[in-house]
Symmetry: C2
């Protein structure tokens, strides 16, 4: 009996092995049978507001995510550190595993201005067709809750199809990414044993504009500055003082105008000094990538672009300086005939490998000084204004980090590419993404390897009103995550 | 009996004449005895919101003002015209009068942004001391309800002291001045017989910064433009597109920066062409006026001014170009890392005699075109954006008018100066005020003579948050109006 039953078990095991689903099959079957369930879980999560400064709702998100992990038999908890939004952490241990794969995503979203949204309600997810295809509109639909849902649905799919896991899986979901990850380095350092791994897969950002899946080996760094310049210390009637009292809106216009040439080249001295050159492999990868400029110009209604006609991917491997907001008094219905008292510009600076964010900030500060401004880093008072005709108040962004680029020739890099290509076909390989994720502090703290596997559609209105995810990108993302979760 | 009683009456009349109060005495006595009553009427009026677009409250203001006139035995009514806010009109006829004096003021106020006010409530008047002197803070406290209260209290004072009026008095109080007086010309034309007179006294604006009473013989004209420039037709992630997609905030900065030199001189071609020169009398009046630059720089916290050090009064006799608002995406707490989709600047242009507002608008439009922009005067659509790399949407302000300057040598001009000096001592005579009042359309429609007699303190935050009137200016204003109401 004993021998017979052993034999029977062996046959059954063989049959199972023969019929074992591939990650792609597992993902596709699960999705086909559970679309509504997946969407319900997704929209319930999107309905919880998630701006990093909204501590109560951030906690509601974290509680929900811990529950979602536990329902999948993932050991889950929150990682805390003083004043930080918690990192939601999960682990599924695999007996005999040789490797640990860490899936990073973030559950916080960009700040919202509800009146700019078509729905006026960024946290009330709504389905809507775009170009005949379904999408879900809500803050963080793409950036970055879709990645979390894809990782979880992929796990459901593998479990349901009984696809055996080979590696230990870890999930690290941050709650402050859109606020610049001010505490992530500290949390990781304090929970080093939990969160380390052979590779960190950063599941954030959009795939290639062509719609092809991309795997990205780095990200630009980021820093920011807020510049305020001043006229009189109160708004003045533009008739009684116009021509005589300085106008800070005009002063700011002149200051900003001098920062770039008409081609978008930054004119701030030394801005491009120190850039690490691309390797031959990286240059080739850029050459092989799809050329999407024509598609993008049509989609974005652009007759011309910066960079003197150079391709987007080439330009993304250079540092940038971008005015992301500019305000002085009021325009439109609430405008009044005043000489404004102040004018403010918010600027973000993207960095590539070789540049340091503090140095880039200082280069801009030095430029402002060179334009004749007294630069103050505390709110300037009357005594300053009475002495200096041009005063700038500079706030340096502290939520800043440098760029990272992982070599495409590492064996783990090749494994990740192979896994993703097993479900999604040939992928676009890029040395860097244009956006920024806090790779540097993770790499420095954990000594791990960073690779970015995004899933969102490129036209997702990330960071703006009417953010959305194309549903097909979510479905494709489940396949991709299943393949990565099943890696050795 | 008949002869005796005639004689008695003659004696009484003589006694009255001998003891008759001067306008100054009448005003001072009335004010001393009725301060609280005057302030109650004033603050009740200020508590009625008066933004020109707020039709219901505008009507409440007008109803109240008609009642206030009737209580003074002034025949009062509203003058209507299609879609216009009513002009409140009052007339006190004087038997045997040879002249008619018209007192103009306006009861509407500038738009408000309550959160910018210290009180958060622009229509809840509050008393507050500034430099040890009482002021009232509320929208229109200075601009221009104080003038209305001064005219009415002066009439009360003359009546109480039985000072006989010599001229017919008319009161014309407009309800759309801060909206650019779009309908005043039409209303005046339609009610020409009611509103004409030998002289129109414009009771609006601040007195000289030195605190001295001023009489002003003209005002700058005004026109406005709103310029919007465009990047991609939606906001873009500054990381994924920064360096490549055009940034409209930077485009606007460059466009605006080219409009003026560092001294505030306008660089738009032909901007100064056609200016009517000042007469010798006018030049002398400017030379004789107080020099307030030092006081103003200290008060406004300004180490430097535009115009290369030239005096304010000289510069006010030149046209100006002022950015009164500038907006692109968001700054501060709601800022996000986007490339903005649009950037907008609202500009006002002040005109001096000899310039035409339509010509000045066109000069700016031509300048924008010369900078390589396709200038559209309707909201541009996709087909425009796909062809033109630089597109500007230009809204021309229609609530515009030209400058007016009345000769200081007219006999009515001399009478007005004498009347004001009888109560307020030597006055500052100015050929023009920096601000704008719709003198041109009044002059053109009625063929009358325009003279401005302001009463407000210069530091009244007119057109801005925390508008206020220094109470002493209201009291002085009652004296001034009493002297003018008692003119022949």
């Amino acid at each position: 009996m004993r021998r017979i039953s052993s034999c029977v078990l062996a046959v059954i095991a063989l049959a199972c092995a023969l019929s074992a689903a591939t990650p792609k099959e597992a993902a596709d079957r699960w999705r086909a049978a559970h679309e509504q369930q997946i969407l319900k879980e997704f929209t319930d999560l999107l309905a919880i507001p998630n701006v990093a400064s909204d501590k109560n709702n951030i906690r509601r998100n974290a509680d929900t995510l811990v529950e979602m992990l536990r329902r999948r038999h993932v050991e889950a908890k929150m990682l805390f550190s003083t004043d930080a939004n918690p990192v939601v952490y999960g682990e599924r241990k695999t007996p005999g595993a040789k490797h640990t794969i860490v899936f990073y995503a973030h559950y916080d979203g960009q700040p919202v201005t509800p009146e700019d949204w078509e729905t006026k309600a960024p946290f009330s997810p709504v389905p809507k067709e775009v170009n005949g295809e379904p999408r879900i509109f809500a803050r963080s639909a793409s950036d970055d809750k879709a990645a979390i849902i894809a990782q979880l649905a992929a796990l459901d799919a593998l479990d349901a199809a009984k696809v055996p896991l080979k590696a230990n899986l870890r999930f690290v979901w941050e709650g402050e990414e859109e606020a610049g990850s001010p505490n992530l380095g500290r949390i990781l350092a304090e929970h080093k044993d939990d969160v380390g791994g052979d590779v960190w897969l950063i599941c954030d950002g959009p795939v290639d504009q062509s719609g092809k899946q991309s795997v990205v080996f780095g990200a630009r760094g980021i820093t920011s500055l807020e510049i305020t310049v001043f006229g009189a210390h109160r708004e003045l009637h533009s008739g009684h003082y116009g021509n005589w009292a300085p106008n800070p809106a005009m002063m700011l216009a002149k200051l900003l105008a001098g920062m770039k040439d008409d081609n978008g080249r930054v004119l701030i001295p030394h801005f491009y000094d120190g850039i690490a050159p691309l390797s031959e492999t990286e240059k080739k990868a850029i050459q092989d990538a799809p050329k999407n400029e024509e598609l993008l110009r049509e989609d974005l209604w652009l007759a011309g672009t910066e960079g003197g006609g150079r391709p987007l991917l080439e330009l993304l491997n250079e540092p940038s300086l971008n005015i992301h907001g500019m305000t002085s008094a009021r325009t439109g219905a609430t405008a009044t005939n005043v000489i404004p008292a102040t004018a403010t510009a918010d600027i973000d600076i993207r960095l590539v490998k070789g540049l340091d964010w503090k140095t880039q900030q200082q280069r801009v500060a030095d430029y402002i000084t060179a334009q004749g401004y007294f630069v103050s880093e505390v709110p300037p008072m009357k005594n300053i204004f009475l002495v200096h005709p041009k005063v700038a108040f500079l706030k340096r962004g502290t939520d800043s980090y440098n760029a990272v680029r992982t070599s495409m020739d590492l064996s783990i890099a090749k494994q990740v590419i192979a896994a993703v290509e097993s479900v999604r076909g040939p992928v676009v390989k890029l040395p860097t993404m244009g956006g920024s994720v806090p790779l540097e502090m993770i790499q420095n703290t954990l000594g791990t390897t960073m690779i970015i596997v995004p899933i969102a559609n490129y036209d997702n209105n990330q960071h703006a009103a009417n953010e959305n995810i194309r549903l097909q990108n979510l479905w494709d993302g489940i396949e991709t995550m299943a393949a990565l979760e099943a890696m050795e």
